[in-house]
């Protein structure tokens, strides 16, 4: 492997020289950190690794996922500690899919000042401000679809001047949508009933008793849907 050039970065104030091709996460490990918090999937899908950073000489704080951002020379960084928002405790089985349900648990959404900070930081490029607006209007479907890609990394809440934990609003809307507004699959219900009624029992019992050779024959001669 060709020797890679090293760059200086600052992890919580301390300077380390790391290869420039690494992500923030791998650079921290290269520097000697054995990560405990702030590391899950390592592929940008679990939201465990929110990180704040700044490039030397620039005043602007940037945020992102440590497993998805490459280090830059002069980067000052820290992992964002555990973020403890208040989560509504609800019974999804008797919550109507309406604005009032969301308002009951997250009244702070009405304090949104439309600053758009949340949208700007979202690593999933979600229009976060918009899904909060949908929630306010009681557009459950709008909020559910707009927030669907949310990986609950907490960065939006971290930036919100109105102290909203947007991702908790999003999941409530999605669950209401999935449960009450998305039409049910009737064939699925029918299959559940058929199984309960024992419709497939004989066939299954027969298959369970076959020896490997017979099973093998069945398997290789089964028809495959196009």
């Amino acid at each position: 492997m060709p020797q890679e050039s090293l760059i200086d970065i600052y992890i919580m104030g301390k300077k380390y020289a790391v290869p420039e091709s690494l992500t923030i996460m791998r650079a921290m490990e290269f520097a000697g950190y054995q990560l405990k918090r702030g590391c899950g999937c390592r592929t940008g899908i679990c939201g465990a690794c929110a990180t704040v950073y700044r490039i030397a000489g620039d005043h602007e704080f940037k945020v992102g996922l440590a497993c998805q951002i490459r280090v830059e020379s002069g980067m000052h960084l820290a992992q964002i500690p555990f973020y403890p928002p208040l989560k509504g405790i609800y019974n999804i089985d008797n919550l109507p899919p309406s604005a009032s349900s969301i308002k009951a648990y997250y009244p702070e959404i009405y304090r949104c000042i439309g600053c758009n900070s949340c949208t700007k930081v979202c690593p999933q490029n979600i229009n976060v401000k918009q899904y909060i607006a949908y929630a306010r209007k009681g557009d459950i479907a709008g909020c559910a679809f707009e927030s669907f890609d949310c990986i609950m990394c907490g960065l939006c809440a971290y930036r919100c001047p109105a102290q909203i934990a947007q991702y908790n609003v999003g999941i409530l809307a999605r669950r209401l949508f999935g449960k009450y507004l998305l039409p049910r699959d009737l064939q699925l219900q029918q299959r559940v009933d058929e199984i309960q009624g024992g419709k497939y029992e004989t066939e299954l019992q027969r298959l369970m008793k076959l020896d490997i050779q017979e099973l093998n024959n069945h398997y290789y001669s089964r028809d495959i849907e196009a």
């Binding site: 899950g40 049910r184 299959r191 199984i195 398997y219």
Partner: protein
């Protein structure tokens, strides 16, 4: 960004693309398949395995890296512990906060049990969160649990335990229904009909999904529900050893607070292990798709306590792991790409294997193409791969299909300047799933009384090879079954004195068998990636040892 050399090679893929449209490559016959596996599948590389010298599976062959952890000393050997100082005292203790653990917790609580769920990282930092493809269930009119049964058995090379497969396929529609009830946003037609796909080894389209966020959607919703139900949750607090009672029945666990480094005693009437897989052990130097905490802890704890393992020599390598760019090396490219018609082609733009073969056969075929046949595509970092012709999907199903079906993965590649809607993806097999684990019965019981197991750390359901979409199903079917049964069992359990004698006995066995544990302690808990050096290249690749493949771990 692909290099100019790679872009040049992509032209060949584009040239031959129209010829692949609507033409199916011949399927591999049973005999050919056996031969292919023997020569090229990592499970048949003898150096990758060794026989266990102690414990209930003595004499069985398991991956070396796992054997090293099983034949190691306990992390708590030299720790002073007062077992009467109990900090967590519940009916059911669930170890591992992934999908199996969450489902078990919900069902156990529904049965009236007092439940605690302890987990190593954040609740939901788990393989479940990473599943992109989907979940199987035979709910369509042209399908049935019996047809599903046959697919599962064939996929597992008929080694699966029939009663477990019966439970899996029979409960499947009920589980999908349950997911609808808790508010999962499945992909559906306007009238509510589930949109379903093929996966490798399926004979019917029965893969249900929530775009390519299926695991995320299931995990975040189960987590939300578990919190709503007031179940006790302890994060960053892995279990490091099981506790047994004086009669040798499971009765709790020693927990370890990762931050304060304190050890805590948890007592329970029944214990469920749901710690997931072992990809982070990097068997044979392969990169992995698994999350950071997939270190086989459940196997280690269970085995020390005397629980039996099954099929731990059958490891699943997913044929399509990312081979380029190196930042996401090993990351999964879901099988749904092939389900929708994307095919595998070599450096000459030629297809070499039917795109819907089972995973083991496809992985072996890719390794053969790159090693023996030397028709792989080399990358600038020294790895090699095969093209997964993703743009074919839009050609088959219409412009915009990839965009609609794979938003998450498009984004993951876009971050590194690749557009998988227009350019093929370079892939190579990646360590994906442990087909085996602690042996369970259809209620999740192990051979140790009051010790249950559910999810990827269990073994038997999938035989020697799991099909895509059957693991999410497995963790929910057996998570639920196990949770219910463990809760009911509590009513007849009498609390007795807690002991760690089994750990002491295990150490004696190691000594009596003259095993040099070389300073190894286990469970591993967290992989060690604090290498100063970028890890060495590893050589593997089928039986052709002269061909180097970069097995750089980190991704």
């Amino acid at each position: 960004m692909y290099t100019s050399q790679m872009k040049e090679l992509i032209k060949k893929v584009e040239e031959t693309r129209p010829m692949r449209l609507g033409v199916d490559f011949p399927r591999i016959t049973t005999e050919e398949g056996q031969d292919l596996l023997k020569k090229f599948h990592p499970d048949f590389i003898e150096e990758g395995f060794r026989e266990l010298q102690v414990g209930v599976n003595k004499g069985d062959r398991v991956p070396r890296e796992l054997a090293d952890l099983l034949e190691a000393r306990s992390m708590i050997e030299h720790i002073e512990l007062d077992l009467s100082e109990i900090v967590c005292d519940v009916d059911v203790l669930i170890i591992g906060g992934g999908g199996a653990g969450a489902a078990a917790a919900l069902m156990a609580q529904e049965q009236g049990a007092d439940v605690a769920l302890v987990t190593k990282l954040r609740f939901g930092d788990a393989n479940t969160m990473m599943a992109q493809g989907g979940i199987q269930a035979a709910d369509k009119t042209n399908d049935s649990p019996a047809i599903h049964y046959l697919d599962v058995m064939g996929g597992g090379h008929f080694a699966n335990i029939p009663e477990l497969v019966y439970a899996l396929v029979n409960d499947a529609p009920k589980i999908i229904k349950w997911l609808e009830d808790i508010g999962i946003m499945f992909d559906k037609e306007e009238d509510g009909t589930m949109i379903t796909f093929h996966g490798g080894g399926t004979s019917r389209r029965r893969m249900h999904s929530a775009r390519d966020y299926t695991g995320v959607e299931i995990m975040r919703t189960l987590r939300d529900e578990t919190i709503n139900k007031g179940i006790k949750i302890l994060e960053y607090c892995p279990a490091v050893e099981l506790l047994l009672d004086e009669e040798g029945k499971a009765a709790g666990a020693i927990l370890y607070n990762l931050e304060t480094e304190e050890y805590l005693v948890a007592r329970a009437k029944t214990v469920i292990l749901s710690t997931g897989g072992s990809g982070r052990l990097h068997f044979q130097g392969f990169p992995t798709t698994n999350h950071y905490g997939a270190t086989a802890d459940g196997l280690v704890m269970g085995y020390r306590a005397g629980a039996r393992m099954a099929f731990m020599d059958a490891i699943q390598y997913h044929p399509t792991g990312v081979a380029y760019p190196s930042e996401i090396l090993g990351m999964l490219v879901t099988e749904k790409f092939r389900g929708l018609g994307a095919k595998l082609v070599n450096i000459n733009g030629k297809q070499f294997v039917y795109h819907l073969e089972t995973r083991d056969l496809q992985s072996a075929a890719i390794i053969r193409e790159c090693s023996e046949r030397k028709l792989g595509i080399a990358t600038p970092t020294g790895t090699v791969g095969i093209w997964l012709d993703s743009p074919l999907i839009d050609l088959i199903h219409g412009e915009g299909t990839i965009e609609k079906r794979f938003p998450a993965i498009i984004r993951q590649f876009k971050r590194f300047g690749l557009d998988i809607r227009r350019e093929p993806i370079l892939i190579y097999p990646t360590l994906h799933y442990q087909n085996g684990g602690l042996l369970l019965d259809d209620n999740g019981r192990t051979n140790i009384e009051n010790l249950y197991v559910a999810g990827e750390n269990s073994g038997g359901v999938h035989g020697r090879n799991r099909l895509m979409g059957n693991s999410l199903l497995d963790i929910l079917v057996f998570g639920c079954r196990t949770g219910s049964h463990a809760a009911q069992k509590c009513q007849e359990v009498k609390l007795k004195k807690l002991t760690l004698n089994h750990v002491h006995n295990y150490h004696c066995q190691l000594e009596n068998n003259g095993i040099d544990t070389g300073g190894r302690i286990s469970p591993l808990l967290l992989p060690n990636y604090t290498h100063r050096e970028v890890p060495e290249m590893q050589t593997f690749c089928g039986s052709s040892k002269d061909f180097g493949q970069n097995g750089m771990y980190l991704a």
